[in-house]
């Protein structure tokens, strides 16, 4: 890999070099990953470490009468058995949800206590009841099996639509009717007025299916306590180690922050599931002190189905009002969101401020009202999963648009185009102010790439073979780059959502970038280095990116919500600005020129109008040897830090087009074509962006056609392994056509918007619009698996007609 370091200074967005911004640089981190040299939590061994295993509830809802662990605690290799009583004795507080939502009547959300190990009752299958620490995993598991728990079974409720009913069992005393909050956003009166004036109304009932995140690396935690300093180190699979430290310190009370180090080493995917602060790491920390040994818990694959927070699980009724010309007058949405048995770390924000605020979609809608009831059920807690609220919003709007177009007898593309937001900034009725975009551009490009015009011929060809063909669009919008701290604070967030960066230039001119973002598959070690290479004009191989350790990076808010580019990289830009400013001063002393005459270009500081110049490396060396300036004139060294707080969300948007063919005899849906045109603003590395889009689409297709967490009426998780939980596979996906349009984001110095979630947000609606088009009925639930599609066909009587 070579570089000329030709990136120009200042703008950071101009000039594509071999390793600069815009170049498809191969991922630096992949060499260690593909050669098996990644260092994940499970790869870390500490002297004397022992194993932690959890005894989990087999009941969905039961009172704990008694836990008998005496025999288990005396079994071979066992160091301790820990119960909820022990954690209470250690004065460890409960896990908390960090985003306050108030109900319509002004009352705060009904957050029930969530101890890391339950004391009085179990409320979902898989809830940790006791923990065993033993020399080996097998010994710990043997002992867990020997613990006797006397349960008094209670009735359970798993369906969010039934959770508020009079027959539903009460899950937490603090939440009557199992209702956590009854929340609303928008102007109900304005919406009522719009509907009163409407020429027509489209109504739809939707279930957004519950998903299991399934990161390739299961979660894990390794906790160590140092008796000499009474301090802890926790290695864990976290997307945001600083937030984990803050919560474990300030809320759970493990230790003060300065005596708790959290390290998130290589992490193999998260999709949101590794944002949260879970029971297992709390117990690992408590256990490490109790047994005075490093304690490691590694989740197994089946355990992950009940140990990781699930995603989605909405039940929604929505109505869209149109005037005679097909313009949208108003939107009314009522959603019940299942938060599971306890409120996970950010659970309350997902079906509220990450959902209802996006219900305007790409459209100019004058009036919107959304009411959301969040409910407890006897299921695994639900929290952010790739897209987090925005896939749910997109599914509501984009299904409504497609159904409306069919009902009104107009081309779905044209109905969308007619209602697109055309001018920016655009203030929606649901908080968000869209800063920029060109929705018609992405629609037009997607339709052209998808050969939308040629669909009729392809449909006829399919029909000739006895197959059903359908096409569907999804013109999605999302809010990324979360977010202005003042804004989220006013909406209930417990933390600020800025990001930090530090750029350390070494005397030899190599650079370390410390970031509060965390990479768990996103390729930050490459893209962040590209930014520095571009800006400083130095080879990418001389730059390393440091993240994921609270002892190295002072603070950070981590990676989720497609924020690492828009927020994390903007912080690096700010730090680079300061580095360059300082380096100019050093160069001025070296070149015996006025600082005002120094220009920085192509990796060199030059005196304007002369041939006097110093390379970046020479300046770095001089900053440290400090021979050319006195301490009175300038501080030695070249290291600068910055915090960046965004001024707005960013608004990636685009248009995805899906084309399916259905075998009516078996109900199997095959995706024949999938086209994605996204506007992510400026792009740092198109290859990595394409990979992100591919992965997101795969997960979106998974939600639409395959994935679903299924509970039976008693609260048992039926899809508790890959034997029953359907993950998308390579064979399920066609070659994807991926392209972009660009409106640079005005809100951050790089003009970037974020790309990590778009596919998962856009794809489900596109797929289901295509499936319903093929089947000729809107009554098709997700996932549209073969059994579901066959049943729909049976009901519609289409099978007989086709024969």
């Amino acid at each position: 890999m070579s570089t000329s370091g030709a990136g120009t200074s200042g703008t950071g967005t101009s000039g594509t070099t071999a390793t600069g911004i815009g170049a498809p640089v191969r991922r630096k981190e992949d060499f260690r990953f593909v050669t098996g040299n990644g260092r994940y939590t499970a790869d870390i061994d500490r002297p004397g470490q022992v194993c932690l295993h959890f005894l989990r509830s087999t009941h969905a809802h039961a009172r704990i009468v008694r836990i008998q662990a005496g025999h288990a605690s005396r079994m071979p290799g066992v160091l301790a058995v820990i119960t909820g009583q022990d954690l209470a004795a250690d004065k460890l507080g409960p896990l908390v949800c960090g985003w306050m939502i108030h109900s319509t009547d002004g009352s705060p959300m009904k957050m029930a206590p969530h101890p890391a190990l339950t004391v009085d009752a179990v409320r979902y299958v898989g809830e940790p009841v006791a923990a065993v620490i033993a020399q080996t995993p097998e010994q710990a598991r043997d002992a867990a099996e020997a613990i006797i728990v006397d349960y008094e079974e209670l009735p359970a409720v798993v369906d969010p639509a039934a959770a508020q009913g009079p027959d539903a069992p009460l899950i937490h005393a603090v939440a009557p009717n199992n209702t956590i909050f009854h929340w609303q956003l928008g102007d109900a009166a304005a919406v009522a007025d719009a509907f009163a004036r409407a020429a027509s109304v489209t109504s739809i009932d939707l279930v957004n299916n519950r998903l299991v995140p399934n990161a390739i690396e299961p979660r894990g935690a390794l906790a160590e306590w140092d008796p000499g300093s009474d301090s802890y180190t926790l290695w864990n699979t976290s997307q945001n180690p600083h937030v984990a430290r803050l919560v474990l310190s300030a809320f759970v009370g493990v230790a003060p922050e300065h005596r708790l180090r959290v390290v998130a080493p290589d992490v193999g995917g998260g999709f949101g599931s590794k944002i949260f602060i879970y029971a297992e790491e709390v117990v690992a920390l408590a256990a490490a002190k109790r047994v005075r040994r490093p304690v490691r818990w590694i989740c197994d694959r089946s355990e992950a189905f009940v140990a990781d927070a699930h995603g989605r699980d909405h039940v929604t009724h929505a109505q869209m009002a149109f005037d005679r010309d097909g313009r949208i007058l108003g939107l009314r949405v009522k959603t019940i969101a299942n938060l599971g048995a306890y409120m996970s770390t950010f659970s309350s924000s997902i079906p509220t401020y990450l959902y209802a605020t996006l219900l305007s979609g790409q459209y100019a809608i004058p009036a919107i009202h959304c009411a959301v009831d969040a409910v407890y059920t006897n299921t695994v807690p639900v929290d952010a999963y790739r897209g987090a609220g925005r896939p749910e919003a997109t599914y509501v709007i984009e299904r409504l648009m497609e159904v409306s177009a069919r009902r009104l007898g107009v081309d779905p593309a044209e109905l969308r185009r007619k209602n697109f937001v055309q001018t920016f900034p655009h203030q929606t009725p649901v908080i968000m102010s869209y800063d920029c975009g060109d929705y018609a551009a992405s629609l037009d490009k997607a339709l052209a790439l998808a050969d939308y015009q040629g669909f009729g011929a392809r449909r006829r060809e399919s029909e000739a073979r006895g197959r059903l063909r359908g096409i569907g669009l999804s013109a999605y919008i999302e809010a990324c780059g979360i977010a202005p701290s003042q804004a989220v604070g006013s909406l209930g967030a417990g933390v600020g959502l800025w990001e930090s960066a530090e750029v350390r230039v070494n005397p030899t001119g190599t650079v370390e970038v410390l970031t509060g973002s965390h990479s768990h598959g996103q390729g930050h070690e490459t893209t962040f280095a590209q930014l520095v290479s571009d800006r400083l004009g130095i080879p990418i191989d001389t730059i390393s990116v440091v993240h994921g350790d609270t002892d190295k990076v002072q603070f950070g808010m981590g990676t989720y919500g497609s924020r690492s580019g828009a927020v994390g990289m903007s912080a690096i830009v700010k730090a680079l600005d300061k580095v360059e400013a300082k380096a100019r001063k050093v160069a001025a002393h070296m070149l015996e020129a006025s600082e005002a005459d120094i220009v920085f270009e192509n990796g060199a500081f030059k005196v304007a109008g002369t041939d006097r110049a110093a390379t970046f490396g020479e300046v770095a060396l001089n900053a440290y040897i400090a021979h050319k300036f006195s301490g009175a004139e300038l501080e030695p060294g070249l290291k600068e830090g910055a915090f960046y707080d965004p001024v707005n969300f960013t608004f990636p948007a685009g248009c995805h087009v899906c084309e399916v063919e259905i075998d009516p005899e078996t109900g199997r849906v095959a995706i024949e074509r999938f086209t994605a045109v996204d506007d992510f603003g400026n792009i740092i590395n198109p290859m990595i962006v394409e990979g992100q889009v591919h992965g997101g689409i795969a997960q979106g297709i998974g939600q639409a056609l395959m994935e679903q967490a299924v509970y039976d009426d008693s609260g048992q998780l039926v899809t508790g392994s890959y034997n029953d939980y359907v993950m998308p596979r390579a064979v399920d996906l066609p070659p994807l056509v991926v392209d972009t349009t660009v409106t640079p984001c005005p809100g951050n110095p790089l003009g970037i918007k974020g790309c990590g979630e778009a596919g998962a947000i856009a794809a489900p609606a596109a797929v289901m619009n295509a499936v319903t088009d093929a089947l000729g009925t809107e009554e098709v639930p997700m996932p549209a698996n073969p059994l579901t599609v066959w049943r729909v066909l049976q009901k519609a009587g289409r099978l007989q007609a086709a024969e």
């Binding site: 299924v710 890959y722 029953d724 993950m727 073969p786 059994l787 049943r791």
Partner: protein
Amino acid sequence: MYDFTYHRASGLRQATNLLAKHEDAKPIAGGQSLLPMMKFRLASPSNLVDLNAVEGLNGIELTSRALVIGAMARHAEVHVSPQVQQGIPALAALAGMIGDPAVRHRGTLGGSLANNDPTADYPAAALALGATIVTTKRKIPADEFFAGLFETVLEPDELITKVSFPLPKKAAYQKFRNPASRYAIVGVFVAKRPAEVRVAVTGAGASGAFRVPAFEEALQKRFHPKSLEGLSVPAEGLASDIHASAEYRAHLIGVMARRAVAAANG
């Protein structure tokens, strides 16, 4: 996995003696079903008798009338075997549809038949082809071999040594996969034999693989997909789960049978 005692048998007699001696002993061939069950702690044999070093259980032989496959033949071997591809190409194709590459390189014909998983592929082939299962004690026609879910007529100390598949005139296997596990929701093997037609179904039966006499009679008259039109299998007695109701399975049996006949006819 719980502790167990491991025995590596070097000969058939030693293997059967070990199985007879230990009440809770299990033979292990490829281990692709048994080991996961043990890891999940759902199976806990006290003794495992490993057959991988036992001589005489391998080999594939094609005669003028039958294909004879050793019990320890891996699925991958069967899939690529020139003898199988020549003698019963449908069987070679079936073997290539089992599990994933790792499973196919470890899993064995004998192990699959002896396990009699109701969603396994080989039981359908054995029934439809009229195979004879040769054991350390006797020769058992396939029709008499299977005895319900995960049950066969094998005695605890009886091992399959080889399986003889009479050569059909035509045969084909069609499998509709469980979208999660990729096992058969419905797999239909049809075989047009010199004197009869057989249709065997796996994946669908609540008590394992079974034949469909009504389909066989219709195809005996004319071996053509149209012969099956209007015929169906009752949903009663079929398995039902989140991936497929009994009614859906009954429907798919018809679809897969028609497609198998069409495929057999080329």
